[in-house]
Subunit: 338 residues, 4 copies
């Protein structure tokens, strides 16, 4: 950390900073310029120290962190790319993995139809939500446990791994019993109680980016999962909240190369929640692959007009088939397969 002292700071104040650093087992180096005094705090663990430890001391103007606050998710901690294996599917390798299906599990008929469509079109993982976090208490909240059972039947029938969201830290084992990949939703990215339990479960997990969280906070949240020994962590970019309202959220396409540089974890993209409108999904999905994403999470519904949740952002079966064709061409153009 770099501690900048105020103009006119005293020797005693500088010494206060030095003493605190030493009491924490850190070493220091002083830069006493003509107009500013700066204290560099050195050591391997400064990334996990809050900046406040020094910022509260008298005479300190500002404290700048140089070590990143995340550790286990960083490429400095592990330089080679991580690959998450789920059955015979590997996320983070040469093959781009498309996960598709309806937003919410509505009925056995709907899920069987969805699974058939997306599998045939080339998706490798089926998605479907049994527990639906909804902004209003008066909206449909999902089929819950009944939905999980239904997911388990569809998964067996189509021999296809399933991803579904978990919202309660006491239901992690329950959900993991019916699903191959647990999803932590954007609104729960900083629900640290839930993260800890999902980490302990050792299940493969998709960690969606909180819609107002920085990439740094996202990787620090991933550290909660990794700290429990769970290595099978997949990041999912799904758009951030900005002032722009022509889309539901603003897809932060740049986060893909940023993550690839900063972290070893695979990253996939959810174009459906970012767009909020089916007509925008294909362009965003193509862009994600071109930017280097390792997979996609796409909403597809057998009949979007009758969907109970988020029908407007769901692709029809025929739109999905067409999109998969486009994605294959883009994947080849960047040296990958789907």
């Amino acid at each position: 950390m770099i501690v900048e002292m105020r103009a006119g700071t005293t020797v005693e104040e500088i010494d206060g900073v030095v003493q605190r650093a030493k009491s924490l087992g850190l070493s220091v180096q002083l830069n006493l310029g003509t107009s500013k005094a700066v204290v560099a705090i050195l050591g391997n663990n400064t990334g996990s120290l809050p900046t406040d430890v020094f910022a509260v001391l008298p005479g300190v103007e500002s404290v700048t962190r140089i070590m990143k606050p995340y550790k286990l998710a960083s490429r400095e901690f592990k330089s080679e790319d991580s690959k998450v294996e789920v059955g015979d599917v590997a996320i983070g390798g040469k093959q781009i993995v498309v996960m598709a299906g309806p937003c919410a599990v509505e009925s056995e008929e709907q899920m069987m139809a969805a699974a058939e469509i997306v599998k045939k079109a080339g998706a490798r993982v089926l998605r479907g939500g049994a527990f639906k976090p909804r902004t209003s208490p008066f909206s449909f909240q999902g089929l819950e446990e009944e939905g999980l059972k239904l997911l388990a039947r569809v998964r067996k029938q189509f021999a296809m791994p399933v991803v579904t969201e978990v919202v309660d830290n006491h239901e992690v084992a329950l959900v993991a019993g019916s699903a191959d990949i647990l999803q932590v939703g954007a609104r729960n990215m900083q629900n640290f109680t839930l993260l800890t339990e999902v980490g302990k479960s050792q299940s493969p997990v998709i960690l969606k980016r909180g819609f107002a969280c920085t990439v740094t906070e996202w990787l620090t949240a991933a550290d909660y999962l990794l700290a429990e020994g769970n290595q099978r962590v997949i990041l999912c970019e799904r758009g951030i909240r900005t002032f722009e309202t022509s889309t539901r959220f603003s897809m932060d396409i740049s986060s893909i190369p940023v993550i690839k540089r900063a972290s070893h974890l695979p990253v996939i993209v959810d174009p459906s929640h970012a767009a909020g409108h089916y007509s925008l999904v294909p362009a965003i999905a193509r862009a994600a692959i071109a930017a280097g994403a390792d997979g996609l999470l796409i909403e597809v519904h057998p009949n979007p007009k009758e969907a109970l949740v988020d029908g407007l952002q769901s692709l029809t079966p025929s739109d999905f088939v067409r999109l998969m064709g486009e994605l294959r061409t883009i994947a080849r153009a960047v040296g990958r397969d789907i």
Copy 2:
């Protein structure tokens, strides 16, 4: 809801919208302009209907919601101001209630000292976190159950109501056993599982605004608490995330008059988390009272230099005493007391 059809829409497409509205028990009125056809969907329950119900239909260009998505928190539902009573303290009345104390419960000595200081200075409620949601798993996570016991002792000793955060939906009763007011933190504002349990507990609750949530989403989250029959809901504005970095979050001071117009619930302000720096807290606190807030939630630490969490945004005892004096003057200027 107002459904705008695309230019060149057909009679069949318009009829599709009309039929869906009728199937949902709603009435419609058609506006067939020369350049645009518009269908108004009328009925008392359109606020809880997702706009997608119509947006997915062929020929629809856009759907605009006129009814608000929240209901129980709205002033249309209840026109007079709600007052939340906790022991002999009432939040939402003429008296402005200051809640103060350290960010985290650290020790009995620290909490006893803090309680004495803030009570003497005029605070009516003591704050202190036993469970601390931290962005990094390597940071101090709070004293947890030990912290709750400690809070209970301090509360008894000083005969002062206590507010503390609850982070796990299965620990609501546990926390409610040691605290008078439950706090739902900003990162959990849309943790609907937690909201439902806190609603069921019937405990007074402070619902902090999610740092990237709109006022409308905040009031809709309050509906989760109110829908369980819990009327003792206090809103707390604590700053939103913007591009500005000179403060930790940007205090959305306008949300206070906006809430007062849209809702009957009391609203307090946390200047400490918004500012991130003690030197900015007094100005924001004064502004909050001038704007019409019903109370404040302020971090005060007996010795901020030694605080384990967020020391930089904590006031010292003497700064807090000085601020309370300023706030009393402002409160009188707007016709209230502290």
Copy 3:
């Protein structure tokens, strides 16, 4: 426009809205629901009317605009794609146009070297700034008129169209004398005085998106150019300001399909200013082509380490050659050429 009246509005208040609409030559249709009265204001020109015209009237709760505020830039006004021709280059057709060169014109040697590099690699237009709007008055402000003369010489030598920024409404003719395409920078997107003059010049123009302007505001700014009879308008997405700091701005990749749906104007992308770091430029550039952009504006410097402005986001010649190869493959994958 849809005018929603307050609960309990009076007949007189509703009549006030109706009379004002009629006085403006508009027709109305009333929807008197049981809980809300709604007045629909119909007519072709409501898009250019401020909503305040009705919002200020007694009894009005809110006014919602249905017609877009922009007109000439809309696809409803002109349904087929516009193609902007500059010499033998056409922007908005099947061919993707890459414009490249240094951020700032620094010297004849630098510009000649840059032109040779980017032309050979396949760029069709040369970029270079003679007038540089800089956030600090103490930074290098560009070579100004000397830079324009230099641009004119390079353009002649390489028979390559040139794009450069204009910052003063009284220098439009001067700049247009040395450049083939005028650029209106992001910070000037709502400098309406400048837009009007550039519109009058009838020169091809690149209108960069203001970094905090919505797509709707951007297209409305384009109307300033189009309203002067200048049809040769190219939009340029260059990233928006958000809370994320890992990139200089957040590339709003979704704006490309949004623009393609809402407008007939061609849209290109500047990945360099969005990224702020050369290592992120290729991924964003590839994503832009995959999302449907009609071209790119890329910073390339013969020697970024010695660049006077924005060296960190400039590609080296060899990086640019490699990127052009990648872009050609992506362009073919979406059925286009470079």
Copy 4:
């Protein structure tokens, strides 16, 4: 500046940074930690150097600025508060200065009525726009030169200083001939061509904050005015663009104490443009005074229902009189007068 080297950097790379610093006349200090090498660049002028100067060098991971990019506007440059005198009005002293009047100059009758109302209620400066930057070319653009003449007559009649906006760098002298204070609007905060001319004019100037500009960028823009020797600069906070839509912009109330700490310049607040709705203006205005603002810029219209521009955010004469009473009480509570 603090230059952090990548893990595994070489001695040659570190030397490259050191040599560049020396070539710029700066001194360096090396911190060679076990896991990171850090180079501190020292000198008085590093604030005006772009970070790219070092960031482009091989082996550099990141560059952090410690000196602020602004200089003349900083409190380090001038420690005592600046007071701007306009006739017998002083902005930045003990007295809080209220500037009020219509958004746009519409007619002599309207301006005379407005001046009478606001002067009588206690405003010290009259506002009114002759040149109106409007987002759409089809909206009313102001009375322009005719409006200036009208302002000059009203100013004479009421012996009251006038503030009006200037939008064209070639019209600075023209506008300064009819107005006592020039206003640079939010959309022109980074129109550096205009800033330079306004700086040269030596007229008192209100520099509105760009709605997506940081406090640092705002103070750096003020440096453009100050660098021309114009000391009479007044900052005006008018709300920033965020995701929240219940107000037109989000008033950044915290910027007031932030500015007071960082700069010697007076700062006023425009609650009208931030709110966008008259009913929210009083709360924001009161909060601004409580937070330490030196004045207010408030829209008041003799008849808001007939206003040509922004009627919804304008106060009526009677609302303004009531507000002035409230503001006097708050001003006294913070030890000031109006």
